[in-house]
């Protein structure tokens, strides 16, 4: 909260009838409670985003339930979608499998073993070994870690940049908006794989560098989506109210517009994760992604053609199946969230 904002709980603000009235003592105490409650009151009319912050209401908290209902309904809708739950289950499974699997299934992934290369699956190596003699199952776990890390990090970064850019552009309007959006049009016209590959040749591949390259070029779609939302939101009364009360532009964007455009962003983030994981696999496959000693699914499939022709199926199909399953899980979750929020969205 900035200095120029109206004082929290100040006497000059009268909640409208039907607006949210904070139930005394229902919300966890803390220095920011007054602020966030005032927020809720202010944004009551168009509120969607802060519903999440409202704790599950007890029997007396009827008003709270009404506020949270947008999110509640979406959540219920999502939970009733069986495919979505399958997707969520698969994603959670892979998170556990990749990050906690190595704690249970100990494998050597640092010292090559020339005596045990390309060994078929056996009791000692459940999915055999690769051409360096590394255990394939263990390597799939480590490769999954980097894939998920890059996917989540790149999608997160793209979402943050895109959301701020889109909100700014939609709010500014006029010539600034036109220029900012033409810039997005230009960047969207450059095939993503091309530019990412070219940049990947320049910077040595690490989890961070690859996430940055992908994240810095995939914020365009979220930017467009958020701008579209902001264009409709900024005509609403609560935005005018915030302006009249002297709220700054920054406050308007961060506290009011972005929370209300959040559903669009959340749906898009799942697709961004899926796309980033696919993109990183393409980079790895072509030899410009993470490579030995770091494990990555794309790199493991880079030699797949030789493996296939030599009959080493265990080096190709298990890791490929993991890749497809993770991407599919993200897409399923995204589709279900989109149905749940019922926003008109198009991928790309």
């Amino acid at each position: 909260m900035t200095e120029s904002d109206p004082p929290a709980g100040g006497g000059d603000y009268e909640p409208l009838p039907g607006d949210f009235e904070p139930p005394e003592g229902k919300v966890a105490a803390g220095p920011s409670v007054a602020d966030s409650l005032e927020e809720l009151a202010e944004t009551g009319a168009g509120l969607a985003g802060l519903g999440m912050l409202v704790p599950t209401a007890g029997p007396e908290g009827g008003e709270v339930q009404i506020l949270a209902s947008g999110w509640r309904l979406a959540l219920r809708e999502f939970a009733s979608n069986r495919l979505a739950l399958v997707g969520l289950g698969v994603l959670v499974f892979f998170l556990i499998f990749c990050f906690f699997g190595p704690l249970v299934y100990h494998t050597n992934q640092s010292l090559t073993n020339p005596l045990a290369t390309d060994a078929a699956p056996s009791a000692g190596h459940l999915l055999g070994t690769d051409d360096n003699g590394f255990d394939e199952l263990g390597r799939i776990m480590y490769g999954g870690q980097t894939a998920l890390e890059i996917g989540f990090f790149a999608a997160f970064m793209a979402t943050v940049i895109g959301t701020l850019y889109g909100a700014l552009s939609g709010l500014a309007g006029g010539i600034v908006d036109a220029v900012l959006m033409r810039f997005v049009d230009i960047l969207l016209s450059i095939p993503l794989l091309f530019i990412v590959l070219v940049l990947a040749t320049r910077y040595s591949a690490t989890v961070v560098s690859q996430s940055l390259i992908i994240g810095l070029f995939s914020w365009l779609v979220p930017a467009r989506l958020v701008r579209g939302e902001v264009l409709t939101l900024r005509e609403r009364d609560f935005v005018a109210a915030t302006r009249i009360m002297g709220g700054t532009q920054t406050r308007l964007i961060i506290r009011h517009l972005i929370p209300n455009a959040l559903s669009v962003v959340i749906v898009n983030i799942t697709f961004l994760i899926a796309d980033s994981i696919l993109l990183i696999a393409y980079l790895g496959f072509l030899g410009f992604g993470l490579a030995y000693p770091i494990a990555s699914w794309g790199d493991m499939l880079g030699n797949a053609q030789n493996a296939v022709t030599s009959g080493y199926w265990w080096l190709v199909f298990p890791v490929g199946a993991c890749l497809v399953l993770v991407v599919m899980a993200c897409n399923l979750i995204g589709d279900a969230l989109r149905d749940a929020f019922d926003v008109r969205l198009r991928r790309r």
Binding site: D185, S189, I195, R202, L301, T309, F317, V324
Partner: protein, 316 residues
């Protein structure tokens, strides 16, 4: 409508120029020095400075961008010092084979996706519909090289129908056309990816069209179901496909890189892949710019085609 098309064309030209400028600037900031590429890594500072001056690389970035845009307008794509050839000649040499691969894949994808989407819509919520939806959804989540590897395993190694790699003898577009067996797997790989993108839209657009009154009227007047589908449904359900084809260009170009690298098919994608490995920036720059411009053209054509085909979306 003419006014709209003219305005749309002007916007497309501006965006195409923007694409060229942005890609050039990005590579100028991050790309390797062309002087080092031309003179070798052991060139000393003075030779490099002289070379830069001779070739215009000492000018301000804005001037360089402007002159590069002007070159592109005149179809001058620069010179590949690594390969000792003009980039234009390199691109020209490979363009035909890539156009054939992409074109065949696109046509095949349309031939599969359109009937599939319509059948799925007509028989919606049947087992067949669910299977088809699951299959296309899986394809949609699959990296194209993995689809290619599965196809190689099944058709080349298990069934011995098609070769796993495109033979080195396929050097011209004509040879690619007269040896259909060689290119079957690459075309299938690229088409599979495109089908995955198209059929979901085709199904939902056919579902929308099926609910319209003119379909009910056609059925009510006693038209056979086949005629209802081919005469009335097909044309209306295909409208979104026009846009999708226009927007499929970046996907096809990216798919070309992967497919050509996987099957060792000499086209623009393989040229790009080789240039990435040789750090041959003039080629990378030129092909990225061309990819961007093709994308802009695809968007433009899609917009115009939809306006022409569908009177309802005409502005003005």
């Amino acid at each position: 409508m003419t006014g709209y098309i003219i305005r749309r064309c002007i916007a497309a030209v501006i965006i195409a120029i923007g694409v060229t400028a942005v890609v050039y600037a990005l590579l100028a900031f991050t790309g390797g020095s062309p002087a080092v590429a031309a003179l070798g890594t052991h060139a000393n500072r003075y030779t490099i400075a002289i070379w830069n001056k001779d070739h215009g690389y000492d000018r301000p970035l804005v001037v360089q961008i402007a002159s590069y845009v002007w070159d592109i307008v005149q179809f001058k794509f620069g010179y590949s010092y690594k390969q000792g050839q003009s980039v234009g000649a390199l691109l020209n040499e490979n363009a035909g084979r890539t156009a054939y691969l992409s074109g065949a894949a696109l046509v095949l994808a349309l031939l599969i996706a359109i009937p599939l989407g319509i059948v799925q819509a007509v028989k919606r919520n049947s087992i067949g519909d669910y299977v088809a939806t699951a299959a296309t959804f899986t394809l949609y989540s699959m990296p194209s090289f993995f689809l290619g590897l599965i196809l190689i395993q099944i058709f080349a190694l298990d069934l011995h129908v098609f070769p796993a790699l495109v033979s080195d003898n396929v050097t011209t577009t004509w040879q690619a056309i007269v040896h259909p067996l060689q290119l079957t797997l690459p075309i299938l790989t690229l088409a599979g990816l495109t089908v995955a993108g198209f059929s979901r839209y085709m199904r939902s657009s056919a579902l929308d069209a099926l609910a319209q009154d003119y379909i009910r009227l056609a059925r009510a007047k006693g038209l056979s179901e086949r005629l209802v589908l081919t005469r009335h449904l097909l044309r209306n359900a295909c409208l979104p496909i026009i846009t999708l084809v226009g927007l499929s260009i970046p996907g096809l170009l990216a798919g070309n890189i992967i497919t050509e690298a996987l099957f060792n098919y000499p086209g623009l994608g393989l040229l790009f892949y080789d240039s990435l490995q040789n750090l041959d920036y003039p080629v990378l720059l030129a092909y990225t710019v061309i990819g961007g411009v093709l994308t802009v053209i695809g968007n433009l054509l899609a917009d115009i085609a939809v306006t022409v085909a569908d009177p309802r979306v005409r502005v003005d």
